[in-house]
Symmetry: C2
């Protein structure tokens, strides 16, 4: 009987939820809070579910898992998120309660790194702009060649040299780029130049690639000062989280030509994207799609299922 299955509270919904449900229809009793406008406790009532019977949440980054939500579920033991980051989850409350956060970890590092390189190369070589031009999606104007456009030799400043940052570095080395990085600590196992200070890194870089998690310390790690240090020929690629960059200042810098271009997979207030960016050929925008592939979805489902299995069987 369905009601004997462990309830899984689905907030969000996770992008992968439909696939997850089709893969594991008989494993959980899915409580689809995302499809209801009711406050959580009232919603649970409509599902004949007592808050204390909810031990697991499944979510994505669109839905904040606040301290209030966590406190209203006294038996909560695991929050599985279909994301690499977990800035949408109140980690302080989780720590206090000993609640496990199951993220996708580093398994999508390669995919996210591919996206970072894709965005960079697109900004430099104006691929999307060229495609629009050839497909006549924009009013005719003569094709303007990208100026100063070699990828080889570019100095790439990677902010956050975790799994994703390392994969970005590996790819761009093959294009003969020069890799430098900033992170909390120097990584003794790599030979790339380490910068303890983001401002210094920006001054010495042609490109900044944001690969770090969003925390209180990294919010606006790329602020106006950093952008001005990067300078008029500089490019910003963000595949981390929108709020790593001060988006208002980024828009201003791009419009005033204070930096050369940007490739953005993430935005400060998703799904909102500043309209000022829509008409800029030096800006390539992506709908937070770095790991939005069917392959990734299937992998995510397996990974989330594994985390939940381990939790429920322990």
């Amino acid at each position: 009987m369905d009601s004997e299955l462990p309830p899984l509270l689905v907030l969000g919904p996770p992008a992968v939820f439909n696939i997850f449900k089709s893969q594991y229809p008989h494993k959980y009793r899915f409580l689809n809070a995302f499809s209801s406008d009711l406050p959580l406790l009232q919603f649970l009532q409509t599902q004949n579910t007592h808050p204390s019977s909810v031990r697991a949440i499944f979510c994505n980054q669109r839905q904040l898992v606040t301290a209030d939500i966590i406190r209203s579920l006294p038996s909560l033991g695991i929050i599985a998120t279909s994301t690499v980051g977990y800035d949408h989850i109140d980690t302080t409350e989780c720590r206090r309660r000993g609640i496990q956060i199951a993220t996708l970890g580093s398994q999508f590092a390669a995919d996210v790194a591919d996206m970072a390189v894709a965005l960079l190369i697109d900004v430099i070589f104006k691929i999307s702009a060229g495609d629009r031009f050839v497909k006549k999606l924009v009013p005719f104007k003569p094709w303007s060649f990208p100026s100063d456009s070699k990828l080889g030799g570019k100095r790439i400043g990677i902010i956050g040299l975790g799994r994703i940052g390392a994969e970005v570095a590996k790819r761009l080395e093959a294009f003969d780029c020069i890799i430098m990085y900033h992170s909390r600590n120097k990584n003794p196992s790599v030979s790339y130049t380490f910068y303890s200070n983001v401002l210094d890194l920006a001054s010495d870089s042609d490109v900044l690639v944001l690969c770090c998690p969003l925390t209180e310390q990294t919010k606006y790690i790329v602020n106006k000062e950093v952008m001005l240090a990067l300078g008029k020929d500089g490019i910003i690629v963000n595949i981390g989280r929108g709020a790593l960059v001060d988006e208002n200042e980024l828009v201003q810098c791009l419009m005033k030509g204070e930096i050369r271009g940007a490739g953005l997979d993430v935005f400060e207030n998703e799904p909102y994207v500043p309209k000022e960016l829509f008409s800029l050929d030096n800006v390539v925008l992506s709908p937070h799609a770095a790991a939005l592939t069917l392959d990734c979805f299937m992998d995510s489902c397996r990974h989330v299922a594994k985390s939940l299995d381990a939790f429920f069987s322990s």
Copy 2:
């Protein structure tokens, strides 16, 4: 006096011509045939120039340098082209007359290879389509995720493992792709799997990248049979010359879903691009822009000037 400068017959005009002219204004008497509708000999008459005084041509791929043109210039000794390929020049007639063809050689291999990777990654990750979607350049439809989209592990069949092909291979190895190739001869210095037959290469590949020159032997080297062998999940990237691929068949295969997608920097009858491709999200089009960067232009000018210098001073 200007008329004492050696005349340089400019056909085309080369994309780099304006820069070249501004760099070397006092070096040549520029005969801008491209700006006249007159037949060549009449045009030369308007320039008070006898055909036998023309020893050098500067051209690009837009302007055929036919046997007729070559025969009408009895003193012609060099044809400098601002391109890597030289399929627009009648090489038989040049060989017969001992006329030197100065191309850009392999100096842009890195740039062209960057473009190949850019187009492939764009098709796989739908970067241009995502940019259009976020910028609302297309009527709203829900974002459709690319399916089966990892670059790592893809089997890349490179057709033509010259300088450009080798640079493509080097880059895609860093993405953990598997490299295979077809060329006239096996290259003993690489460990990639060699295919003497394009059809077999296509059968075993997820992606075909065209990096060979266009010759009588390579025209339509990717024909319908090869596309069907590549199959429904296959992607074609062409940064060589349009006529390496049977473009009519390519359009049909793309529209019918007989191959998955294409990234094209070159077309069979440039600047014409088949309109059927404009609405396909799985097709990324580029305006033959692989080496169209200011850096490349400056390099081209220096290279052409060097070739012409060597010729006129010998």
